[in-house]
Symmetry: D2
Subunit: 271 residues, 4 copies
């Protein structure tokens, strides 16, 4: 079953007469092992899920999907924040496109010491990097989802003892100038909740966290405002969106709050 | 493009020479609206997700997948616990099979009054029915997942004030004789946790639940044992499995416990 | 444990000094049975998943989460496209907010006849309605996800026989004036793929669909352009976004394409 | 806030009077980076999701959840098939248990050459290892999910041209004696489908795969039987279960088939 070369027609490169350009076209949901920079250890191995798109002018019928994988193959195990822009550039060139879109989602591991015993355990945080390269400029958004504990201020004031707490998730997406460590954003977020969460805790740590949470009650409204305030004060952050979702322990649904701000014009007071 | 009948060969009915019978073959992930019996209102509309399988003897190449949908169509909006066995019988007959397997998963809605204000709100519970019809006997398992609040006994004793709580999920699957209301199993489970959860709560309810939980601390181990004890004492229950998963508010992982018991020989003490 | 009224302090209504308004605050992931309008049968029962948010001015500490459920309770089983605006209005009023956000996701069932045998089976489509009520104006987006079959044009031209096909999903979100039936959008989308998909097909239908797909090869690029062209020609549609994802049968990842257009200024040719 | 040691009561170690032993208790859903053995490169970095349980005798109130994480910490980046039994032993010892259960799910990467061009791309396969250590004996099940292409034999015979194809997933779980490479099981499965799937394919590869699939039509019934036959013939395999799910390209649901066999007594012919 030998294949004469002339037979392998390039259907994708044919003309298209509908005069409709496509905003994004490419591949979605490709898993590849990656290595990312790590504040504590230099770098860490993890697994990324990739979406890779380019724009397509109205004249051309289709893009060449295999070339996205070829770009990924060339950067196998070398994918990182540092090579992110290079990958976008290669996508644009190899696919003769004006705009390249690259999205990578990955778990990021941070070794964390328990607050009293100092016992160490790894925490995993869901992170993502989304970028759009157009006219030589890369517009990049970094995101991280941070699990926290929240203690209900209303429950605390109402009940004679105790107060209900729950796990919450704070999702922060941001644009920045210069460099920002994911670890710094995680710590910023954790300082805004009733308490951080840990993978490894001994009894003295658990006592400490219970009392810390009781001393720092916070609605989703409080957490979203505190994170917004601190992201707004961060000199490198030019835009951010904060989502807080509390997996309420007395309900079967979530409490939710969201603030999005463009920092280039300053934090606007809409109240 | 008219189709002469003789052309429509029945590939599935051909012989297969590999001498390998198939345990289950059929369709998976079909959504259909259903009506189920409801203790409070007689019946309720909801949406079911269906898996339908039969066995296939070694001699035959394939089953006729479209016939499963035909059975479903005949019972459209009449699918219920009462018609469950009829559907299994029809599957077996129309597909010339020895064994029929039917699995339905659906949200089930229960109107629940808040504990102090008596304000009413709907709760949804994930339920499932799984049955196997063989030699005229239907082996049926009913399951329900009940969200609850748990308060950590360790945290309560350690801290001077308060204790961490979280949402947990109790999954109960059971075989039974006679009839069992899903509502009864939900109430049985809720009585074993630190407190039930609700969709609608006012401030006096929230105060009540906070204090109730503080008065009833429970590890996953306590919840799974209490539910096992009460399911074991239920006269209609012949087998059960209880899974408890706590979405820990001080960790980013779950605490988990499981007990499975065959009641026909009595609860065995393995300790 | 009786509760004197004066004790039930309203923590949420207190002042907040951080001067940070919140864009959205409310509840997420609440399931309720709903009844929606249906072109063929007048109406149908299904199950909705609700997100309900309002804005919160900088001066106030928190919103009153229970009021969202109260609004939902008042409309139990009467939630529909027609009452959508009423629900938004009630949310705004009862929560003293400027802006109300309502999002409902639900499976929608359509009875569909097979192309040759005319055998009927129910198809379920994932739908959603998202609205924002501000200054008396409701900005509403309706969305529907339509599964289809696509046949690869490249594979068809290369191979001497056959061509690989796969299931794809077309997600259309749109703003509109007047009224648009979801059924019409489903049919519009299905006409743009290699073939529609069905729940119930007999052999003559399967033959027909196989040949139909072979006669209508389509890349994701072709499907997204055809749907964009037809949505652009629809007189009631003022904005749309079309996503096409092919679950490639020769890969373990998806092919993807997306076009978004604001119709009020006409379809722009960016090529 | 110094903590006098005597205050840190060990609630978990207290007696329990309910006389109900617990089958499994522990932690669920913990993510940790792992290194696994790899036929081609010696070893590879990936990310595992862990469930770790022990049994609990009826006399004791609770297990010590933090000890599971301590075991994991000691094996950080050294978790592998080789250390699997060691981890189970440590769990049993440190928790004074009779039985230890360990479950690890992880993506496994294999570099695969396209069939004609020999272009290389990474494929990721969802794998899992589940073990139960009791009385010094480890009962271990290894599992792998392999995506494949299937071409419908019925459609091929009915239509004058072409045939519908789709992505399918074959899930194989097995017990074994000695050693089995995951890569070997993947290749065994791929040889039973209409064609394998790849991450990187050029046009000549696509032509080849299209024609290969057309020459090897296979129902889910055919795939499940072929995989069962080859697993049954594998000298190291003592038990297996094969699930095949086809994401039908002409339906919105799956076709499914399953065979489970205990090889120690030989493959039984139930037909």
């Amino acid at each position: 079953m030998s294949v004469p070369k002339e037979k392998l027609v390039d259907v994708q490169s044919r003309a298209d007469g509908r005069r409709i350009p496509i905003d994004k076209v490419g591949i979605k949901g490709v898993r590849y092992p990656i290595v990312v920079k790590d504040r504590a250890r230099g770098e860490q191995h993890t697994v990324g899920e990739f979406n890779m798109y380019v724009d397509l002018p109205h004249r051309i019928k289709g893009t060449h999907m295999s070339r996205f994988i070829e770009v990924l193959e060339r950067h196998r195990l070398k994918v990182s924040l540092r090579t992110f822009k290079d990958i976008c550039h290669e996508m644009r060139e190899i696919l003769h496109a004006d705009v390249a879109h690259l999205e990578i989602a990955f778990p990021y591991f941070v070794s964390k010491k328990a607050p009293v015993s100092a016992a160490e355990g790894l925490m995993s945080y869901r992170c993502r990097i989304e970028g759009k390269l157009e006219n030589g400029t890369l517009d990049m958004i970094v995101g991280v989802t941070v699990p926290v504990q929240t203690l209900c201020p209303c429950s605390k004031e109402l009940a004679e003892v105790s107060a209900h707490t729950q796990r919450g998730e704070v999702r922060v997406d941001f644009r920045f100038q210069g460099f920002v460590w994911i670890e710094d954003v995680i710590e910023l977020v954790e300082s805004c909740a009733s308490s951080p969460v840990y993978s490894l805790l001994h009894r003295d740590d658990e006592e400490h966290l219970t009392e810390r949470a009781f001393a720092h009650p916070a609605f989703v409204e409080d957490v979203v405002r505190e994170v917004a305030r601190k992201m707004g004060d961060h000199s490198a952050v030019t835009w951010f969106r904060v989502d807080v979702e509390n997996f309420e322990s007395i309900h079967n649904h979530s409490a939710y709050a969201c603030i999005e701000r463009d920092q280039r014009g300053g934090m606007k007071d809409k109240g």
